[in-house]
Every structure is written in structure tokens, then in C-alpha cells.
């Protein structure tokens, strides 16, 4: 059986194609603003080519993510939390929670029996879009995402920035640059602000378990974020190799049930 999951995020669209529950292809591309539907179609063609199949070979397609309604060929849409939950249990059957943090939203999902969900906490409005905050700041500071990911743990500890509002955080960061603080130090401070927000979502209601919590989404690939979050929360996250494809993978797994 061949199924596909399409995760249309704020920054990137991800596609995973599963053949008999094994990943046959995965593709990502920038979502692109207004023409998101078109981007989805383009990347869909690329993914089919990678897997060496035709659209008719695919039994079901499930879409998720902020732009899930833009996937015109999807048989079904599911909310991000549901896709994240399925991905977590698919990758780590023993998992008890999953954190899905991308450019736009952050979800912390507490898993129940089987494929059920006990609780979902979403980030509140302030400091929404944690991934976006990092991307924008990287751009502003002239650093690549890889350079931010490689920041040393101590960087950014002496000059913190506002951790409640991205606009204030950015202004604080510019202020630090103005007084000559090294841009890597500034990037570290912004990363810390993002981590403070993430841990407040983790602490909202049911606290995730220390060793059985999965971390997926674009931010899970940023080592500076995951290491600092681990230190702050004490959680040893289970991070899959292709963490950014978590949502698309979950959607593809859901498609196998249909």
C-alpha cells in the first residue's frame, strides 16, 4: 500500500510517501506565500518522481499543517496535533508525549492509549511562531540557521532579550548590536528567549515524561534550541533523524488507516 502525507507549513511544505509503511520518498520546499497551492503541486510531482510512482499508485493522501486546505488532491485533512501524535507513536512506540515546534505553531501533545490523545497544549498568541523568530533573527544577524544551531551553550547568557514578545526581543537584539555585543552572543540570547517560551508550553498542564517525549518539527533540528531546552526542562528528547518531516510522516501513517 502506498500513501502520502503533505504538511504545508508557514515556511516549508514537506511531503512523505510511504510504501508498506516504509519511507519511499520525502521532499521539502519553501511554501511560498500566495501561490502555496501551486508550490504544493510542484513538490508533489518531485516526490512522485523520487518514489518512481504515478498519482494513481497512491491509495490515499492526507494533508496537515497551517496550509492543509491548499492541498487540492488530499483525501482528508487532519490537524497538526493529530499528525504529530501518529508520527511519534510510529517512530517510537513507547513515546508518551510529542512536541511539534515549527515556524508557526508549537503543539505539545500528551498521548493516550493506542492512537488516542489525552491532551494538547498550543502556544498562546505572544511569541507565536518560534521558528519564524529564529529565521528572522538569523537573517537580521547575518548568520545561517546552521551557525545558530552550532552556538555554544554559554553564548547569550550575559545579555538576555525579552522572552515574551518577538517584537521586543528583536528590538532588544538590535539594541545589543548597537552597543557592540557580538552577534553570536545576540543570537544565543534570542535562542534562549525561544527556549523560555517552549518550556512554558511544556509546563502548561501535564508535564511530559523525561525519557519518552518526542521532538519533531523544524526547531527540533536546531541543536542550540534542543540542547538548551533539554537543560531547562530536564527532558531527554527523542529526536528522529528527519524531524522536520514529522507532520507529513504522521499524515502518511493516518492515510494507511483509510
Amino acid at each position: 500500500m502506498i500513501t502520502a502525507g503533505v504538511d504545508v507549513g508557514l515556511m516549508n511544505t514537506k511531503i512523505v510517501i510511504l510504501r508498506d509503511k516504509e519511507v519511499a520518498a520525502q521532499r521539502t520546499k519553501q511554501s511560498g506565500g500566495g501561490g502555496r497551492g501551486e508550490t504544493v503541486k510542484e513538490i508533489w510531482q518531485d516526490a512522485l518522481k523520487d518514489a518512481g510512482i504515478k498519482p494513481k499508485d497512491i491509495s490515499k493522501v492526507v494533508a496537515t499543517g497551517t496550509g492543509k486546505k491548499d492541498v487540492s488532491f488530499a483525501d482528508k485533512t487532519v490537524v497538526e496535533a493529530v499528525a504529530a501524535a501518529r508520527a511519534a507513536r510510529f517512530l517510537y512506540p513507547e513515546s508518551t508525549s510529542v512536541v511539534d515546534a515549527g515556524a508557526d505553531m508549537t503543539h505539545v501533545v500528551t498521548l493516550g492509549e493506542g492512537n488516542t490523545i489525552r491532551e494538547v497544549v498550543m502556544n498562546q498568541k505572544c511569541m507565536n511562531g518560534l521558528g519564524l523568530v529564529i529565521e528572522v533573527m538569523a537573517d537580521r544577524l547575518g548568520l545561517t540557521l546552521d551557525e545558530i544551531s552550532a552556538l555554544a551553550p554559554a553564548q547569550g547568557k550575559t545579555n538576555p532579550v525579552n522572552d515574551g514578545c518577538p517584537v521586543f526581543a528583536e528590538l532588544d537584539a538590535l539594541g545589543l548590536l548597537n552597543i557592540g555585543v557580538d552577534r553570536r552572543e545576540v543570537a544565543g540570547a534570542v535562542t534562549d528567549a525561544v527556549v523560555v517560551r517552549l518550556s512554558s508550553i511544556l509546563n502548561d498542564k501535564i508535564r511530559p515524561q523525561k525519557d519518552t517525549t518526542v521532538f519533531i518539527g523544524g526547531l527540533a533540528k536546531n541543536l542550540a534550541v534542543t540542547e538548551r531546552l533539554k537543560e531547562r526542562s530536564g527532558i531527554h528528547f527523542l529526536i528522529p533523524e528527519n524531524a522536520e518531516y514529522g507532520g507529513a510522516l504522521g499524515a502518511a501513517v493516518i492515510a494507511t488507516d483509510m
Binding site: V78, V79, E80, A81, V82, A85, H107, V109, T116, I117, E119, V120, M122, Q124, K125, K205, I206
Partner: protein
Amino acid sequence: MNKQRWETRPLEIWGKAKELRAQWQRSINEAAERPGAMLAHGNTGEFDWSIGFDDLTVIEDNPVGAMMASKSDAFSRKCRLASEVRGWGREICGYVQNCWGSQFLGYEMDDGAFPFRDMSIPFPDPCDQHLKRGQQCMDLSPIPRWGADYPMYLGPLDPKREQAFIDHTVYCYLQIIDDIERIFDHKFDDEKMIGSLNILPALREQALRISRLMTHTPAPIGQKELYSFYTLGLLTKVDPKETLDFWTSFADEVQWRVDNHIAAVATERFRWMEAHPSPWNFLKYFRYMEKYGAVCIGSQYSHIISGPIELGEDGQFHHIQRKKPPEGQEIRTREDAFRHIFTEARGYRFKDDEYCRKWTITDFAKGFHVDGAIMPLWRGGVGCTLTRKEQGLRLSEMGVHVLHYEGSQPGDRTDLDERRFLDQLDTWMESLGLEKLEA
């Protein structure tokens, strides 16, 4: 998946409700014409000033501000701006911002002249602004303002302190009456006030009948209906007897609906509660939730007409046995009457529950058999959010699925992201395995 469908139909009492509402509006318009007749913020406590003072009409900022938010976004924006340019910040309660703004502009939503207040008697609430709300109309023109005090102490109950609180409150009210009589030459009708003492308990009885009936599945009415009628029992009553008759007929009709399995939501399969109050500019989320077969059975706030209630061992709601004035104590004077009211009222406001009776929120959830709870987090006017997170935790611990969303204050739409709110509802429902039953 539950495929059960019940019959549903609108309430018959709607016509009467509209009539009462129009009558209240007329009383406001008439009072605006009479000098010294308009009293701001004077009836959400245990006592309505217009019951003792025939010449007075009470206008409360909360329902007026809520109505503005609900009916005209453009007008309430204008009002908030008018208020902000005079230095009042976004943290101020949205209801108050709407009313103050309208006062600054000098006109109302329908372009009619703003009914300027002649005096103001706000009462305190767990919000730092409830008592402050009288300030603006006093600053604008030199009208008298009093505070109808409600002292509270959160430590262990001390009978002596309680007695001092009651004495203080009673003397506050007596002082206000003397002042109004002296300044405005209005006459306080002791007989009418004493005579009305049995109306409120009778009204509570009828409202309690409705609360109890709403524990049934399918719920005979939902939050939408409660919100449509609850001000008729609390904030906008004109004639207490008429109000009581209305609530009696309302309760009879709800009983009939239960007997005949008439549902608020035909596809009910998920019951949720709220914490007070909702974003008045965006009530459409109730209908949105109905697409999932979800019915809102109300909140402690919208069941307020029942008075302080608690869940008995029989699984049914009862009135909390309030402290009674000593046996045989006759009520002959206004002081006796106020002493009676405030002895009964001590410590039983549901807004104080998180301090005084933490279990009532979970009892509420249990009694109404709810599956979920939506608990808003408002940024301004803190009184409408106080302890919401603690209550959310308490509910979550008992297995109720809790959803928080953010906004400015129920009367201010500024920070409420409607699209995001609906996305949150989708996430909430789908994560519980519920899909939309209709597009």
C-alpha cells in the same frame, strides 16, 4: 460515533424576553429625560437600588459594553479609541472602555444621545477595576460617586471579623441612602424594599430548576439561551415581580423540553463548559462547536441567577445553605433588611470560589457531566481571568479536556484572533477523535 439525533426547536419564551428587554430600554430612555434619575452601576450585587428608590433607573456598564462589542465592532473600536486618546490603557476592562468612550463621544451606538449618569455606585469585584468604573463619569461631570463595599478576607473564618464586615457593608448602604435622599430629594421606600426580600430567593428557585434541568442529556437549552436571558434576571430587571414570572415560565418551558427530549443541539455527543464570560463580538464559536455535536451547558457565570449552588451527594445541584439571621429576628427597618441580605450573602459569590470553595468548579463540571472546558485568558480587566489557569489545572486533573484561548477582555476584540480561535477548536475536537458532522 454517536449518530443519535434529537428534535430541536426555538424557545417559545423568546417573544416575552424581547418585550422585557424593550421595556428596560424604554426605562433607560425615560430616565435620561428626568433629572437625577440615572444611576450607574448599581444592581449586580445582592441588591438593586431601583427597588428602594422608585425614581431611579439603574444602568450597568457590563451589559451595555458587551452589547456594543457584540452589535457594532466599528462603534466599539471608536469608543475604545476615544478612551485611549484620553490616556486610558488597553489594560482597562473592555466594557468600561466601550461605555466611557461612548460617554466621551456623547452619543450611543444608534446615534442617540449618551444617557449621562447622575450618580454612580459601583461595587468591588476580584478585579482592580470594577470599583474604579465609577470614576470616569464622575470626572467628566461632578456627580456623586459611592462605593458599595464588599470586604473580603481570605484567611480562616473569624466570626468577629465577619460580623464587622457585615456591619460595615450595612452602614455603607445606609449612608448611601441618606446621601441620595439629601442630595437628590428622592425617597427610599422601606416597605417596598422589605417586601421585595422574598423575590430574589424565589427567582433563584426558578433559575435553579433550569440549572438542574440542564444536567440532562440532551441538554434542553445551552449557553446561547442562558446568555440571551440571564441579564433579564440580573442586570436589566425593571419590575421584580414580572422578572420572577418570566423566569417561572422559562423554567416551565425548559421542563417541557426535558420531558419531550427537545435538545439544544440535535447531535449532542460532547458537553463543554466555560469560564465567564465569552468574547461578545465572536459568539459564533458556539454554532461552530455544534458542527462537532458539541453543546455548551454554560458556566458558573451564566448560571449566576441560581445563586450560589453546590453539588449534593444525590448528584443534584442545591443552593448552598447560607447563614441565616438569628431565628425570630423580625425585619422591620431598612437596616434589618440590609443586615438580612448581607448576612446571607457573605462569602458566596462564585467569583470568590477559587479562594473560598475551590471544589465548586470541579463540582460544576461533574454535575453537568462535561467532557471539556473552554477557559479564556483575557489580558485586560483581570477580573474576568483571575484564577482561570488554576481552575483549568483542577479540571484537567479530573479528566476534563481543557482549552485556553486568548483575547483582550470580553468586551474588546483587539487581541482575539478569530481564525486562530477556530483552529484551536478544530485541534481540540479532532485530537479527541471528533470530526465535523456538517461542513
